[in-house]
């Protein structure tokens, strides 16, 4: 949505010469983590692996009209998320 603008100035020592000009290598990491919790982040449904199809689905998971997400209150969610997002 909002464009990310990198305002850092490049250290010339890091540049690699290329055919069309200099290149700077920037590596981004996208981390997918699974938190060990008994229930989902935005609903009370179980996260039990291997359950029957559609067994771990609540009204909000199924996007029924008028349903609202409620964030999991257990701190178990917040800490790892803060670490991953922060």
């Amino acid at each position: 949505m909002t464009a990310l603008v990198d305002t850092r100035t490049t250290d010339p020592k890091r540049l690699i010469p290329g055919a069309t000009g200099d290149w700077e290598v920037i590596i981004g990491l996208e981390v997918h983590a699974q938190v060990t919790s008994q229930s989902k982040l935005f609903s009370g449904s179980s996260t039990k692996f291997g359950a029957e199809p559609n067994a771990n689905v609540s009204l909000v998971d199924a996007a029924m009209p008028g349903m609202l997400p409620v964030i999991n209150r257990k701190n178990a969610w917040r800490k790892p998320y803060a670490r991953v997002l922060g």
Partner: protein, 407 residues
């Protein structure tokens, strides 16, 4: 019983759950008589966008047989209450959908502070603006009904854990010394002289009751309607993404799943809903997000600041007209040809939703053609008590307005 939000896309949908506001009413002994018509997904100001056809206002102009709109989006609620079909009705208000229909039918409608009622179980239009409230025949009934509907709810994290006051007990209390703000910006160009007269009458009644009238300025008012028509469709486009024909409601078969989604949504949504989904998707799209949505959010903060400044200066409540006109005819050409004309119905009410404040519409008089006109009181967050007390003063001074039975 089906819940269809007056949309074809929710055709035959029977929820297996009860919304918190209605459950609260049943717990207090209320009885459901039926579900009422409305604008499709609460998008409209005349109840003409309903898949099930328009609602007819029980009021008619003196000597006329022309059918008028009951306002919208909660037009079924306002019409049923005005016609004495029920004692009170639930309604929702995203930009004026409780207060404008109340004003058009000579009924009382209150949109409480954002967070006063739980939104759980209510089909969402614009989640940051939606609030439920009652439409009733007098202020006392509205006070009783809101007391029942309001609650904190674990299932709606935007509901607020504050005690619900006994609103009814506040009625009859004095408003002596209370400061009532009159915002200069609500005197819009080309305003109907009858509305100006009504407003002045309201000011005189409150003055007579001992209130102090103060002129105030809410300088960003003129940006409220344009900003609302960015924020509300943006949220609607997201909220309505769920209606895809997969799990409930209408399904129109297609050659593959994408075709099924497209056919279902094409057939299931009406023109106004489609218009708003398109506007919403546009203003949220990359490249336009900053120019429209982000700007509108900033405007929203400015509108909120305007009200906060007025209240900080000692104003207890703000008095404005509820609508720019009396009820208009079903099929009014100017409104149908130009959606912006229709949107202008909410010019006095959207600011309240943008700021999350409580607002009440109370009948205050009749137009020269014999149609009801309403005044609006805007209060501080969670100060519905002051609104009920002040509206009760207006109600006592103005008298009762009952539609002559023709149906």
């Amino acid at each position: 019983m089906c819940t269809q939000a007056a949309s074809h896309i929710l055709n035959g949908f029977k929820p297996k759950y009860e919304s918190t506001v209605t459950q609260n009413l049943w717990n207090d002994g209320a009885v459901m008589l039926g579900k009422l018509n409305m604008d499709e997904f609460a998008m409209g100001s005349s109840n003409e966008t309903s898949f099930y056809g328009p609602v007819v206002n029980p009021w008619r102009a003196t000597g006329s047989k022309e059918n008028l709109v009951p306002g919208g989006s909660s037009g079924g609620s306002s019409a049923a209450v005005a016609a004495h079909i029920c004692a009170g009705a639930t309604a929702t208000d995203t930009g004026g959908s409780i207060r404008q229909p109340a004003a058009f039918t000579g009924t009382v409608g209150i949109k409480p502070t954002y967070g006063r009622c739980s939104r759980w179980g209510i089909a969402a239009f614009a989640s940051s603006l939606d609030q439920a409230g009652p439409i009733t025949r007098d202020v006392r009934d509205a006070a009783i009904m809101l007391k029942s509907m309001a609650s904190v709810d674990d299932k709606d994290t935007t509901s607020v854990d504050l005690p619900v006051p006994d609103y009814e007990a506040a009625l009859g209390g004095t408003i002596k010394g209370m400061k009532i703000g009159i915002p200069a910006e609500y005197k819009v160009d080309g305003m109907d002289p009858e509305i100006v007269t009504l407003w002045e009458q309201g000011i005189a009644w409150l003055k007579d009751a001992g209130a102090e009238i103060v002129n105030i300025s809410l300088p960003h008012t003129k940006y409220a309607l344009p900003a609302y028509y960015i924020v509300a469709p943006a949220e609607a486009s997201s909220n309505l993404a769920r209606y895809d024909g997969v799990k409930y409601g209408l399904r129109v078969p297609g050659k593959d799943i994408t075709d099924m989604y497209e056919q279902t949504r094409a057939k299931g949504f009406g023109a106004e809903v489609k218009r708003r989904i398109m506007i919403g998707t546009y203003v949220l799209s990359a490249g336009y997000y900053d120019a429209y949505y982000l700007q509108a959010q900033k405007v929203r903060t400015l509108i909120k600041n305007d009200f906060e400044n007025a209240f900080a200066a000692g104003v207890d409540a703000i008095l404005t007209p509820a609508t720019p006109s009396a009820a208009f005819a079903i099929g009014d050409k100017a409104m149908i040809d130009d959606p912006v004309q229709m949107y202008l119905n909410d010019v006095f009410t959207v600011t309240v939703n943008m700021a999350g404040l409580p607002g009440i519409a109370v009948p205050a008089g009749l137009s020269s053609t014999g149609l009801p006109l309403g005044l609006q009181l805007i209060g501080k967050p969670f100060d519905e008590v002051t609104l009920f007390k002040t509206a009760n003063v207006i109600e006592k001074a103005a008298g009762k307005f009952v539609a002559a039975k023709w149906w």
